[in-house]
Symmetry: C2
Subunit: 198 residues, 2 copies
């Protein structure tokens, strides 16, 4: 999930040694042994930090004979910083909402498949329509909240008795993310969107 990427990005930058490495690399490529000397650290320690920085795509490497030269990956440093701001301020949500001028199908699905009391009469069989109905329900969940399976079931029941199917559909279409019995809303960027279905 996307949260983990942002966490890893900040973890990579949350150690003074790794920041020093990036500083040293900002002047150009440097090889492992030189880094170890400049930082007064052992080579294995440099390898360890380099691995973390590489996982976060903050540096890249080039091998020349036995020597591995490390260099910055400037785009990713910038991209990571922007992604994390965007995540926190949920910029993606507003952007997404502007992108759906085609509301007629949506309106018709909401009118025809949901009763006045809010219940879902039946799960739409047509793919597009099903996505619209699922999204309508899932939007009533709160971003950032971690739900238990039981809570998700209780949430779905007022809409439809077959909560297990709907719960599975939530996951299948990337509306939610599941990790050891806990459920969490994905950011809208990850949802399967009916607007994108040709």
């Amino acid at each position: 999930m996307q949260l983990d990427k942002i966490v890893n990005y900040h973890k990579a930058l949350s150690d003074p040694t790794r920041l020093r490495i990036l500083l040293l690399l900002s002047k150009g490529e440097v090889h492992g042994q030189a880094l170890a000397e400049k930082l007064n650290l052992s080579q294995p320690t440099v390898t360890h930090h380099a691995a973390k920085l590489r996982e976060a795509a903050l540096i890249t490497e080039r091998r020349d004979k036995n020597t591995v030269y490390f260099m910055l990956n400037p785009e990713f440093i910038q991209a990571g910083s922007e992604a994390s701001l965007k995540f926190i301020f949920s910029k993606g949500v507003e952007d997404m909402e502007k992108e759906s001028p085609d509301t007629s199908l949506k309106d018709s699905v909401l009118r025809n498949f949901f009763a006045k009391d809010g219940r879902l009469r039946q799960i739409p069989a047509q793919y597009k329509k099903k996505l619209i109905a699922l999204q309508y329900m899932v939007e009533k969940l709160e971003p950032g909240v971690v739900y238990t399976e039981k809570e998700i079931n209780e949430f779905i029941k007022p809409f439809h008795e077959d909560y297990a199917t709907i719960r599975r559909e939530f996951i299948m279409h990337q509306f939610m993310y599941r990790q050891n019995e806990h459920y969490e809303l994905n950011p809208p960027e990850l949802w399967t969107h009916w607007e994108n279905v040709k």
Copy 2:
């Protein structure tokens, strides 16, 4: 020192629970108990995370009766992200170099106080001139490298026999940062600058 601030900023953002808290706060203020419920965590855990976020100036608080409401501090989230990019890419260094058009005094100090072999004839008594001489020497050290006291002494000796005094001056004027027997160059923004001396 400045490095620690950046480290703390990223540490604050390198935990999934804290990112979720920021997400929840992005929609407006929320009180502690509500956060605990939404995240399925105990109140003390929320307090713990709130403290970290507050230390990094990412959130602020408002108290109403017994209830503490947390809210985002958007400027600091942005500022921290920019500071860390600036640090990594050392933008500050270039900026600083453009800002010193008054090179005549500098030239004269370098000519008169340093011998052809590079040794410092004597430590300038006049404040401005002393800063110029110190900065000239300190610029030959490498940013990001951690030096032992012994290494600093050995570095200074070719310039002047009284390395202890000069080492102390490096610290006093913020050219370097010292932490349990280890020395490290500060970023130029922190140096006491002779251009700024009226």
